[in-house]
Symmetry: C2
Subunit: 288 residues, 2 copies
């Protein structure tokens, strides 16, 4: 799946691409059916919301769940990013974000690269997010909000917010968000939110400023996020645990396009539990 010139230009300008219904309902069903069992696990890799028991984000399922291990090697997710970055990719982060009915909490305005730079010492923004909707996304279940073109601003100064939600995030000052939204067209076009059926996919630049509201609706909005990094741009510091920021920089090898509906072998290194080493971080003297 190579991108067209028009898609490349649009990505350059807007910082994201939206592919409605890229995965079939059968493919989505294969993935979504696994989620309840993963979310039930009382493991550190399941971050729950501040209030209630709903899972906010599950990390690293591609290392212990076969359906997600296959998705992590899916050519529809990997190839367009290889095409954009013109390099082999490794998996920097793998998340199944809940944004569950009634309980899904806000994600404040942020750039993902802000965290990857500040916490993980990823040298440059040669990394991208690819999200797949496992549920239909509407205006009512907390869709992703983007500020189009905000990726061109590069790395924006951010503040480590440890209190608003259950998950620490490097968030951006409101005045700067207002400027970026005004620059992108204000109330008319300064915020966009791709919405569509389960199986839709979004690619977005790691410097694209985004947020999402809480989910007041009775409809889950589960999405999978692959954070793909150019191999030469691998992180230089292990401040965060390995189940959050991966340390295996081996290039991803894609499976065939039908990997979600046919049987293929995949490696599941954490199928018998997360290794102790995944909870270790770099020695304190390196974390200055």
């Amino acid at each position: 799946m190579n991108l067209t010139l028009e898609q490349r230009n649009r990505f350059e300008k807007e910082g994201y691409l939206f592919f409605p219904s890229l995965f079939s309902q059968e493919e989505v069903q294969y993935l979504v059916a696994t989620v309840p069992e993963l979310y039930e696990r009382r493991e550190e890799y399941n971050y729950r919301e501040k209030k209630g028991d709903a899972v906010r984000t599950n990390f690293a399922a591609h290392l212990y769940s076969k359906p997600f291990a296959k998705l992590a090697r899916h050519p529809r997710m990997i190839k367009p990013v290889e095409d954009l970055l013109q390099e082999n990719l490794y998996m920097h982060q793998f998340k199944i974000n809940g944004k569950m009915a009634f309980e899904g909490d806000v994600w404040q305005w942020h750039q993902d690269y802000g965290t990857w730079f500040n916490d993980d010492l990823m040298p440059t923004a040669r990394a991208m997010n690819v999200a797949v909707f496992l549920d239909e996304v509407t205006e009512f279940n907390g869709p992703l909000l983007f500020i189009p073109g905000s990726h061109k601003k590069g790395v924006i100064k951010a503040k480590h917010d440890l209190t608003t939600t259950s998950y620490p995030l490097w968030t951006i000052d409101n005045n700067l968000i207002k400027q970026l939204i005004d620059r992108a067209g204000g109330i008319k076009s300064g915020i966009v939110s791709p919405k569509g059926p389960a199986g839709s996919m979004i690619i977005f630049h790691s410097c694209l400023v985004h947020a999402s509201s809480n989910n007041l609706s009775p409809f889950n909005r589960i999405s999978v996020y692959l954070s793909l990094c150019a191999v030469t741009n691998h992180i230089r510091r292990f401040k965060r645990k390995e189940y959050i920021a991966h340390r295996d920089f081996t290039p991803i090898k894609c499976l065939p396009d039908d990997c979600l509906t046919k049987e293929y072998e995949v490696d599941l290194p954490w199928s018998n539990g997360v290794p102790n080493s995944a909870y270790e971080t770099s020695p304190k003297e390196l974390l200055k």
Copy 2:
């Protein structure tokens, strides 16, 4: 302004009516220009958000601010409700809700009549809300969400939520919300949110279940809410302070239609401050 048969039927079925751009930009400007000064006041009638200093809701401005005293007598707001209830109305509650840029917090799913019944002993649901947008409302600044037809359910069991936000609210159980939304068409049509330019108006039934999300955008979403009650249906208990639930059951007399752009005299009984009696409540033995 009398309602058409089609409007009356739609109100009966859906529980709300939407009138885009009913007030001109000049009329809106006259109102909205007054808001910052009202919100700045360090008075008990300004409820601020749980976090930060933004005003969540301002009460009773029609008793101390001339522009809002005129709005409280505006025939475009009062006449359609008189027409629906076929009776004289008094002002049960008057609010300027902030839902301010970045800071506006969620309003949980609730019916207004739930509070008016539980707290104020208003005998029946012969009361309505009329809201005017003082800012443009989009999907991104926390619009009102309605469950169409939910007013037909009558008074729904509710729980007094004293912790989620800064303002106590009788909120409805998630399972029942899910049922109501499913009955109204689920993800396709079970939630609606009227959006439009500043000056748009909504009339909604006091049993219509509604909510609104937080406001992550840099755009305020200030709205004025008139809660109009049939005079014979006046509240029977003064559990809440008078600036929240009014005790003057005098029928509202409308001003002419041009009252927001021309000079008219209005009574401003609280212009020199809120009287002490407005902070008093019924004796405890009546509040059982």
